[in-house]
Subunit: 415 residues, 2 copies
């Protein structure tokens, strides 16, 4: 194997492509609105495919619209090394979430082309369909279908708010592919992504070597009270569901403390009905998002939520409904993939730390069928899903360098 | 003065008119939607005026659409005894809030007609415009203008959500009267109303002799945090405004306990933004309604709200805005009016208790310019502002009997 330790990606080309891609669905406020399978998404995907074809890649599109662009390896029978992410965004999305992982994957291919290096394993850069789950309400949809975690028919039947199905949107954009949406043999998979959190920036680290993904779930609590006029109704005898909130919230934050520093508790949504300032609400609904990387601590947090809800509402004589409406089991990434990333960043000498992802990614689905890991770079103020999402050209380049060498470590190069 | 102690109102006639009025804006679910100065309100008012004219009354309409129907007294120079309430309702309103007080006032006139009794003071039954303040966002508007607490021009300029002004709605319904909206001399004023709370029903009392109205105010608290992804953002370093809610709510309910049993604290509205289950909110807004009949305790509660907001948000390093967006000073009713009601209920022998109103009423405005008091009757489960608002024919009759004799006590009768 030749010495490729000097190899670096072309930071200017990567940055220009990030800027070029940001024009599809640009909001005028520095962000993008390029929701899955819209015309903006179509144009972004076609631009990407033009670049990939110009780089000599072949293109496959599967039945759920996932795009695979392939650079052949020296061993035609070897399974591919897969990288990539997604090009779709939130309605007020940024220019890097997902996009960076896709374009950095393409940049790895360009860099290998420029260096006239062939890997032993073929390389594939994937664009997963509908990772964001905002237009069609299932996040990581394309990778879920591909990995067998969601049926193709369920995904095709999902509808947006206007009643357009995924099947119709695929047809309208020309991305209803013929390849079966199921895993091809994969030697290793790497997803490069912005952290979407503040840890790397706060600790001034260039690279996060991602070990896995937190266990996480979202719960809905509905507390039923009795609507009453705020004036004439004495406090004693009220059935006030906000009192349940008053009892539960402090205990929920105490639960996060108990499982610090990794435990996370978020109450993101609270709604009172009828929501009038002079009426005791008849109903309060709120959500509780629980996360922890450790399985047993995570399970303890979920159990504690049930106990807290039960004890507080029982003491107030209030009826309630507690339900888990979304759960994603944690993922431990593959040691070989983590080692390939670790070796790359050690060789490059970039500042680093090991990290656990707090958010879900397509890599979670891929990890269920193939050896997988992730690489994080910092993003400004930890902001993501936000038009103000921001990274520097240097951060982008360092992350792509790590992806390049992790892929080389995994795929091997011939002279 | 002749012995009129045997006199009772006609329960069937009163009940039939309550039923007839409930057809204007009937919701089909047992309630009414007869918001101020809508076509439904116009038809209800015209029906009332038809009844009043048939009972021999003269009609005046003032510049803000308040209706005064008058039965002459034996002393033409004596100031009127005023009774009445409002005919407008909430969007999902009941059949008695306000309406009962108006129709019972008319029933008093009918009963005096039937008995061929003339009072010394003239009697007037008033229908105040826009008491509910739901279509045009100022409660007790008509009585506020009449009593000089709100300017006529401000009231006429109020707009509904479609941009229609009060002036336009008065013209459209034909109720832009020519009488100045300002107090005529009033000898005494009585407002008969459902309690809108559970106290009389729970204690099985037919009549509440209302002594006054609680001090009350509504406050808005906006706590500013920083939006962050629920997954990748560690608990330490979050600027989570829901933590302010967790800190404040228990202290607010403790504040009500401290000022029990009359102190009342209601958090009726809570809103989180962006309101996503997996995003730490960047902003929480909630309302706090504070009430107490005692001035010094009420002032202590308002001060404590400021202290709690300051201490909790300071400890969390969060910015906040606290503002009082509505305040109604408490009212102590006139001893002569309370005595007239008390003498009536004692003579009638109905079960009774003295009570302080927890809600505001037109009588609060009237009390600022004339001797005033109120009479309460129970309503089922204390429910009001609700299609399920309910009273019995007997309760309605007893309350109207008390109104009749309070008015006779105040206005005097000649043989």
């Amino acid at each position: 194997m030749p010495d490729v330790s000097h190899l670096r990606i072309n930071r200017d080309r990567l940055w220009q492509r990030l800027e070029a891609m940001s024009r599809f669905g640009a909001t005028g406020a520095g962000g993008v609105n390029r929701q899955a399978l819209t015309d903006e998404d179509r144009r972004g995907r076609e631009c990407f495919l033009d670049w990939a074809r110009a780089a000599g890649c072949t293109v496959r599109v599967d039945e759920i619209g996932n795009l695979f662009v392939r650079r052949e390896g020296s061993d035609p029978s070897a399974p591919a090394v897969l990288t990539g992410s997604h090009l779709d965004t939130q309605p007020s999305g940024g220019n890097y979430d997902g996009i960076y992982g896709v374009l950095a994957g393409l940049e790895v291919i360009e860099t290998l082309n420029d260096a006239h290096l062939q890997t032993r394993h073929p390389l594939e850069v994937v664009v997963w369909t509908n990772e964001e789950g905002c237009r069609f309400d299932t996040a990581m949809m394309g990778s879920a279908v591909w990995s067998g975690r969601m049926s193709l028919s369920d995904a095709l039947a999902l509808q947006d708010r206007k009643g357009t199905s995924v099947a119709e949107a695929l047809a309208a954009t020309g991305f209803e592919g013929s390849e079966p949406a199921q895993p091809q043999p994969v030697h290793a998979a790497f997803e490069l992504h912005i952290e979407q959190g503040p840890v790397l920036e706060q600790e001034d680290k260039a690279i996060g070597v991602v070990q896995g993904v937190q266990h996480m779930s979202r719960h809905r609590l509905i507390v039923h009270g009795v609507e009453a006029h705020a004036g004439p109704t004495p406090m004693v005898g009220r059935k006030d569901p906000v009192q349940a909130l008053a009892g539960m919230l402090p205990r929920l934050y105490a639960l996060a403390d108990e499982h610090a520093p990794e435990g996370r508790v978020t109450v993101g949504y609270i709604d009172t009905r009828p929501g009038s300032s002079n009426t005791v609400p008849g109903r309060v609904e709120f959500t509780v998002d629980l996360r922890h990387p450790d399985q047993s601590r995570y399970a303890a947090m979920v159990a504690a939520l049930g106990t807290i809800a039960s004890e507080v509402n029982k003491s107030l004589g209030l009826d309630y409904e507690l339900s888990c409406f979304w759960e994603a089991p944690g993922v431990t990434f593959h040691p070989d993939c983590i080692a390939a990333v670790q070796a790359a960043v050690d060789m490059l000498g970039y500042s680093q730390r090991s990290i656990v992802s707090g958010a879900g990614h397509d890599a979670c689905n891929v990890a269920s069928v193939a050896p997988t890991s992730m690489i994080f770079i910092p993003c400004k103020d930890g902001l993501s899903h936000n038009e103000a999402e921001s990274i520097t050209q240097e951060q982008a380049g360092q992350g792509a360098d790590v992806l390049l060498h992790a892929i080389i470590n995994s795929a091997g190069v011939s002279a």
